[in-house]
């Protein structure tokens, strides 16, 4: 078994990008289909993806269970799994959890950057943890088979989610705080709890999550990977690149501001640095997986460990949780 999986992308989708993912040997990607969208808006996004699946059926299949990753590998295609970076698609209605699963959602963050009805986002000043509705929704997500993703959530909320959920949870795209102390990166305590609960982190290649940003070196990233593996165990670390290829800057502005403010929030950026950041030259797109393979081997990981990090761990997580 050797799979390559990138467990978070939000690109401005095109045949070119699908071909790059294919050329990079990706058997599966998890794509974001909601930041602020409500249920009806998500349905529209699913329709758009159905068009892609039809038009590019030589490159893509719609991923619903881990078996679609096996199938995609056999057919040399990429299985595309849907997820949400916010709980906005379920609005305030717990019954929509099953409905979004029917649409194909297999990951859902309990929050984006702000407080949600379910939990607290990492940009809030105070973190009150998983809410009353959050507890109910976690139970329902466990029941219908949607993975809880806490990538953008605050510390206590994430620890709560690990404890409340009867199934392992994921942080699909983030890095450790010890390496780069950004709000979105995660504490050692949290990463340990995630590993011990059989959860998984997808390490991020988004420059705001990287030490040195765009200038982060491949070596530094791979050393961070090694330290994270030391902390969590080799089975609990994968990749979630957070690639946003070809997106106009209006998209990052919308991601940060949605409809919650009439002012302008710059999120991980700043007024003078508001745009999407440029990718490091060793990870301009998913062909960078080849560089990661080289880099991870160079700092001492063996072939099996490299395969684990670049896809097999995510495959095993899917096999256990998405079926």
């Amino acid at each position: 078994m050797t799979y390559r999986i990138d467990n978070l992308q939000y690109c401005n989708w095109s045949e070119e990008i699908f071909k790059i993912n294919n050329k990079a040997g990706l058997n599966a990607i998890h794509v974001t289909i909601a930041y602020h969208e409500d249920f009806d808006e998500v349905k529209n996004n699913v329709e758009q993806w159905n068009s892609y699946f039809e038009e590019f059926n030589n490159l893509l299949i719609h991923g619903r269970t881990y078996k679609d990753i096996e199938k995609a590998k056999e057919e040399e295609k990429t299985a595309v799994f849907f997820g949400f970076q916010n709980c906005s698609p379920i609005e305030d209605d717990i019954k929509l959890v099953e409905a979004v699963h029917d649409l194909g959602a297999v990951f859902m963050q309990l929050t984006y950057n702000n407080q949600s009805l379910l939990a607290t986002g990492c940009y809030e000043e105070n973190d009150s943890g998983v809410t009353r509705m959050g507890r109910e929704v976690i139970r329902e997500m466990n029941r219908v088979g949607i993975v809880i993703d806490m990538s953008h959530s605050a510390e206590q909320s994430t620890l709560d989610a690990i404890n409340i959920s009867e199934k392992p949870i994921a942080i699909t795209h983030a890095n450790p705080y010890f390496w780069h102390p950004a709000k979105r990166n995660k504490s050692n305590e949290l990463l340990k709890a995630l590993g011990q609960s059989n959860g998984i982190i997808g390490l991020s290649l988004y420059p705001h999550h990287l030490l040195g940003g765009t200038n982060c070196t491949l070596k530094s990233f791979c050393e961070m990977t090694a330290r994270t593996v030391d902390l969590m165990g080799i089975d609990h670390v994968g990749i979630g690149s957070d690639l946003c290829l070809d997106q106009p800057d209006s998209v990052v502005e919308w991601m940060r501001n949605g409809t919650w403010t009439k002012n302008k929030d710059y999120g991980e950026g700043s007024k003078s640095d508001a745009a999407f950041p440029r990718q490091p030259d060793w990870f301009e797109n998913t062909l960078g997986f080849n560089n990661l393979e080289t880099g991870l081997k160079e700092i001492g990981f063996d072939d099996k460990e490299v395969d684990a990090i670049l896809g097999d761990n995510w495959f095993n997580f899917y096999k256990e949780n998405i079926h």
Copy 2:
């Protein structure tokens, strides 16, 4: 000037109830038109009210500013003002604040019992205060002229709202915790801060907020009123009866559960006491304002003070904040 105002009702509306309010001499009532409704559902409720205004134009006028209270008094009718017990009508969109004001909303709670996108409800275990979106929405409510109502919100969230809002806020329906320690009732610290900020509380006649529940005595209620006036000042205490006349018990179940849980939450009730509680015999409907007048005089309030509590304070609050 002598007005009679009941600043919270959620009855199963009928000509009979409108006539009782009229007979009780109420010049204005604030009615709840949303617990869990989204924007479109609120529009439907407004349409229903427009039908009432048309059909019962001998009894009602639609209240939009304090001048409608003066007009209603002249015409011996009741001005009906709209409010929400939740922020669900603005969904996740700050621009809907102005839209709901256009529909006639002049009060909006930042939360019902649970965490909202704006603040924490009083039934949550932890209270993280007003959120990032909450700060923005308070500013927008101040701008367009919707009063912030924290009747169902948790302590820190309410103190935050008092501090953040540039205009006085209201607690339209609750009682002091010192008298009856229910989750929905308010601490001395909070009541003092409310009074000092020129805010106002509407004392509630809902049995779960009353010492002794249905068996609460008029004397006890009036003594509590006196102690609350001592704490907050005579200008800051009014009535918000929280009357839910003629509602079937399915309504209180919906109020408590909305669509946030697949289990059953009993709110202020319990499994063995799930129904709407019976009103005290001295306040079965708003004709009970006459009993309040008698009771308040008996424990020593003078005529002017009684008028202040039974309506003039609310009138002055409207005059300052709803125009």
